[in-house]
Amino acid sequence: MEIKVFFFGILGDIAKTGFKHYRNITSFHDLEHRIEDDYPEFVHYTYRIAVNNEITDEKPDLKDGDQVALMPPFSGG
């Protein structure tokens, strides 16, 4: 399946892009590995996950076309 991943805050700086398409993804676990391969620096950061504008604290089941957001700790205000 194809997943669009958004990088917010400092993660976007590191990735040098706000989003990236990942193709032939088999699971969330697989997606994590692909992202880590692309951006090994991410392991130094904590972030939460949202899938299709829904924050999730679990490893989500993904389906084709899902949008995944990686969100560092919020710092609005």
Partner: protein, 146 residues
């Protein structure tokens, strides 16, 4: 009610004033509490803050703001109206980056609910800030804990 939370650039007094106009429809709301947050000209490790650049996950901001408003109205049943404005993009030191306006029947609930709103905006809304110093270096701030 949650439209127009995110404002490009600094939040102007005009935006806040327009926000206040909506409160005229609640003649039983005797107290309005407003919080205005400005970018401070802080000194961080010897560098001067020139601006903050905010970025946001817009669709999720709208959604989470609605949850915040519902939970605050449930906790403070006297609350009649809540408005929140928050900048995205560059806000210079001295400029306004957020405003929260809460009307309630009496002042206690207006003030308590406004305080709660501001606390929740900071920890619940997917917004990020980058401090830009006068030497044009910058640093991402990661200081709000949920």
């Amino acid at each position: 009610m949650s439209e127009n939370i995110l404002i490009e650039g600094p939040v102007s007094q005009a935006v806040i004033l327009n926000g206040l106009d909506g409160f005229n429809q609640y003649p039983d709301a005797g107290g309005i509490s407003i919080f205005i947050g400005k970018v401070r000209n802080d000194v961080v490790s010897g560098k001067y803050v020139q601006a903050i650049e905010y970025s946001a996950y817009e669709a999720l901001v709208i959604k989470e703001a609605e949850k915040i408003f519902s939970s605050v109205k449930e906790e403070f049943p006297e609350v009649k109206l809540i408005k929140v404005f928050h900048s995205v993009g560059i806000v210079n030191a001295g400029e306004i980056s957020m405003a929260a306006i809460v009307a309630a029947i009496h002042r206690d609930q207006a003030m308590q609910a406004c305080k709660k709103i501001v606390e929740l905006v900071k920890v619940k809304l997917p917004i990020w800030k980058k401090e830009i110093y006068t030497d044009l270096t910058y640093m991402w701030k990661q200081d709000n804990l949920a």
